[in-house]
């Protein structure tokens, strides 16, 4: 399996002097395509900072991020158009669905297809919504959808540009246990069937068996975790 994203020695510090907080401390991590990985850890451990660095949203101060083998950000300096990279190759799923409020379910997916340069966005959006079992709600606006339906549409939107990497930040926090597991299983299906690399930040330990790889973060450092092992929360 090829690497979708590889981070090498990422460090990031917020604030200065005595108020300085180390969010990332020499973090190195690799997510391969076709893999679904979980990122565990307590609040403030640096998970969201790592997601932002790997998603090319807020670069780390030092270190390097490789995407599909090429260096994209080095020591905080972008080496490529990061917006273009995001719209072509990355998908995001958030704690809340964060669907665009003035677009219908289909249009939310369709606009992501458009940004990703995919032809025939409308039919692709319909296909994805059907794949995620919300095809019957394509004309509904986000506020008309249940939390679970919104999250499915958000996943469909994340898949719209056929991403190499999907980053999900606590995507099941607002869902009950049954729906949480369904969503996690969906990520695994996406990774295995579509060959995407999926990194999911989660606090939900009930569905850890779904993941191929587990990472744990604490005080800005990352280490591999094992299935069934207790983690600090």
């Amino acid at each position: 399996m090829t690497d979708a994203v590889r981070a090498q020695n990422l460090s990031k510090i917020y604030g200065t002097g005595t108020a300085a907080v180390t969010a990332l401390d020499n973090v190195s991590v690799t997510i391969a395509r076709g893999t679904v990985a979980a990122l565990l850890g307590p609040s403030g451990s640096g998970k969201s900072t790592l997601i932002k660095a790997l998603g090319f949203v807020s670069p780390a101060d030092t270190g390097e991020v490789f995407f599909e083998g090429r260096s994209v950000v080095k020591d905080g300096v972008p080496l490529e158009d990061l917006s273009r990279l995001r719209r072509r190759h990355l998908g995001f799923v958030f704690q809340k669905a964060n669907l665009t409020s003035f677009l219908s379910a289909r249009e939310n997916v369709e606009i992501a297809c458009e940004f990703g340069g995919k032809a025939d966005g409308r039919s692709r959006a319909r296909e994805l919504l059907r794949y995620l079992d919300v095809g019957n709600r394509e004309d509904s606006y986000p506020e008309m959808l249940s939390g679970g339906e919104q999250q499915r549409v958000a996943i469909a939107r994340a898949l719209a540009n056929e991403p190499s990497l999907i980053l999900a930040d606590e995507p099941t926090a607002a869902l009950d246990s049954v729906r949480s597991r369904t969503v996690m299983e969906l990520f695994r299906t996406v990774a295995h069937e579509r060959g995407a690399a999926v990194l999911v930040v989660t606090h939900d330990h009930r569905a850890l068996d779904v993941f191929d790889v587990l990472y744990e973060m604490e005080d800005g450092r990352i280490r591999p975790a094992q299935h069934g092992l207790p983690t600090s929360t």
């Binding site: 998603g55 917006s83 964060n98 665009t100 677009l103």
Partner: protein
Amino acid sequence: MNLAIRDVRRHLARFVGTAAGVGLLLSVVIAMQGIYAGMVDDATILTRAMRADVWIVQRETRGPFAESSRLDPSVEARAAAVPGVRSARPYTYQLIQREHRGAVMRIALVGLGWPDDSGRSLPLVRGRQLAQPHGEMIADASMGLGIGETLVLAGEPYRVVGLTRNALTSGGDSVAFLTTADTQLVAFDQPSEATVLERQRVLERLRRTEIGRSQPSLEDLPTDPRWRAPALASPPVAAVLLEVAPHRLAEVRETLQRWGDVTAYTQEEEETLLLGGVVQRARMQIGLFTVILTLTAAVIVMMVMYNLTLEKTHDLAVLKLMGAPRTRLLGLILQQAWLLGVLGYAVAFAIAEFAFPMFPRRVLITPAISLIAPFATMAVVTLASVLGLSHVMRIDPARALEG
């Protein structure tokens, strides 16, 4: 996919409401400009309608509009004899206020030099010119009188035979055109007893004299309603209007300058007197108010655009995180601003079309206003979207990850 249209469609009622508000604001700006233009036009319409080359007024006055002017009626005959003058006619102008059908009516009475001038230069929209020396008037439509209706002035009925549109004074009062003799009857309304006694005295004298006995038809003269008793002074006129042969204007003016009792103005000078005197202060006031109102409208539209953008901050952050090209997001704001401008202008245009004619003062939408207003509206909304655009540029896509 057009994001601006999608957003408008989703919040249609609110957007249309906002556009209506912007339209009302624009209509006020256009109305102020229209009132300003109307005031300037009203100030000159009376002088232009008379189509005179030279206005002779009382010496060293700026009459007859900027200040009162009283000329002896003999000036008309003297002026007519000046080489180069094609015709001379008297002109009277006075403001009166009467009650008609229970409402107060302010009218500017303008005298036409019958029979030379029966109102042929007036822009009639209905009816005809004056056809007899007494008892007829041409009224402005703003007076609310119809053809055939009568208005009683100084005890005499005057029938409306023609209607003009927008013949107003600089103060916005309607103008009615009568013969000069009739306006003088109204202006110098003699007590009827004085006229009857004087008429009786003249008839008695005619019967006592040889000339009266030999020409009995002379006894008809004092019974003519236009007859003025010799014992009563001839009423003055406000001005004498001259029509001058082409290329002889300078020569005529030079002659008139030598007369000790009059001052002569060309048509352009008379207009300048009006604009520089009567309406100058009001013009400046409305002009300044228009500028302030335009700036206020721009600021309000700017805040409206900014608030519309602020409401979308989270959506825009999500779109940015998804890698939306900057042009798409800036286009969303700009297109909405333009749409707001177009809808707002349409509302303002509708108001101008249907409501402005009902305003008590004339709102004149000149071709310049019609041409400039839509472009100015689009320029204002484009400028007004600058705050919103700068907000879009500053949105951090990481905000989308913060839930």
